[in-house]
Amino acid sequence: MGELKLMKGNEVIAEAAIRYGADGYFGYPITPQSEIMETLMAQKPWETTGMVVLQAESEVASINMLYGGAACGKRVMTSSSSPGLSLMLEGVSYLAGAELPCLLVNVVRGGPGLGTIQPSQADYFQATKGGGHGDYQIIVLAPASVQEMNDFVGLGFDLAFKYRIPSLILSDGVIGQMMEKVEVSDYKPRWTDEEIQKISGSWATTGKTKNRERHIATSLDLQAEKMEEHNHKLQAKYREIEKNEVRYEEFQTDDAEYLLVAYGSSARICQKSVTLLRQKGIKVGLLRPITVWPFPSQRIAELANQVKGMLAVEMSAGQMVMDVKLAVNGKIPVSHFGRYGGVVHSPGEVVEAFEKQFLGGK
């Protein structure tokens, strides 16, 4: 049982990284996630665990430092908010192509462009549909509480190393800035060189020995056929992840006649909307994708046989709703509701939107 604290989501990301035994953090400040690096700098883990914390000159530099660290088999991470993540996408594509594990954190703010510093969920496409170039995926975890900000640091690293893939924690300004009770994880030591050799020795650039080929971390192959073969390998890995790593949570779906689908902070808001609608005698449930890639398509397809309609609620103009529609495949009506550009919808607004869409309300 870990220690109980009251912390901001951003602060706990930093705390969890140190406690998990991360080797390095490289980043550049941007609201609303600057507390991540601030907390790391205040904790000075380089004096205790030996973890490196470095403010790079830019987001582009940060992501390429991750590439270097990850290629050595180290557990490295960065964090940013929307415009900063956009700057990193070239590097993310390279990391995915070179099959390098790492942890990314996006505390999403309103866009497009420099946008605003207020919470948003409009980076769903960027996170789940590539964002950068080429046919790649990254694992995307969507925390809905400060506790999950803690838990997903470890989970994100574990999955990243299990599949040699970047993991992304897709958070937003609400979860990053709010404080909640959190049980922080116990301290784990950083991996020793021997452990890195054992875990990642088959690919990491840990220093060539006489009896093996050189390890090269690259995403480049000028022979198209070889590149296609590499892509086949990546795609097989993505199918494997889709099979094994889908995570979701259901709230009052057992007898539901309608379904809300929402992730992250919007799912918290929708939980209250479900309660409000049930007080009016309307049987509504909530499905919360915890992994938005891989997406819980199969479960949503099953629920399409049970409910009369689904409302995807997200702080965007309608992004995750596309994945819900693909899963439902035209079987029942699927709609979208959400405030965006930095505005957070209230539980009551969700109720109104639901009634308007499905019950012919005002």
Partner: protein, 183 residues
């Protein structure tokens, strides 16, 4: 029990830290809590507010638009939040600087001369604890022993010598809060 609170005033008045101490007091008595600040490009002198929820049950939405209690520390916040208090709810305000006092007759309104009492104590920084004392007097949702533990947890150790003064300020708030009659 669920208590949904908005605390709103000027940046620099201790709005966010009052919320944090309340939330920590809730944690100390094993309750669920959430603390959600407005985090616009605010600075000292601008407006600041924080939503605090303390509950026996798991908290669903940390974002809410109506409240059991509003603790109001300036005119802009009164204008913005008076109508968000649920009927039967509580509005606590400091009349200092208020030119248009609250009007609602379907809620319970109390006032505390926080700024004035803080000046009398010789330390304007005790202001937020005086106001919090007034609140706890009317809504004893957190026990004093847990408030003390909450203070210990939320203040860095180098400031722990200030805890007795903060406890005194809370007592002053409890003693000085008065019911406000709407004309």
């Amino acid at each position: 029990m669920t208590e949904e609170i908005i605390i709103a005033g000027f940046g620099g008045q201790g709005v966010l830290s009052m919320g944090k101490i309340l939330a920590y007091s809730g944690v100390m008595q094993n309750q669920e809590v959430s603390w959600m600040p407005s985090y616009g490009p605010e600075m000292r002198g601008g407006t600041a507010n924080v939503t605090v929820i303390i509950s026996d049950e798991r908290i669903s939405s940390p974002i809410i638009h109506e409240f059991d209690t509003a603790i109001i520390l300036n005119q802009q916040s009164l204008d913005k939040f008076e109508n968000t208090v649920k009927p039967g709810g509580l509005l606590l305000f400091d009349p200092n600087g208020i030119t248009r006092p609250p009007q609602r007759k379907d809620i319970n309104i109390y006032s505390i001369e926080g700024a004035e009492e803080a000046a009398k104590m010789g330390n304007p920084k005790t202001f937020n604890m005086i106001v919090m004392g007034a609140y706890i007097k009317i809504r004893p949702i957190v026990k004093m022993e847990n408030v003390q533990k909450g203070l210990e947890k939320s203040l860095p150790e180098r400031h722990h010598k200030l805890i007795p003064m903060n406890l005194d300020a809370i007592q002053v708030g409890m003693d000085k809060v008065v019911k406000f009659a709407v004309n």
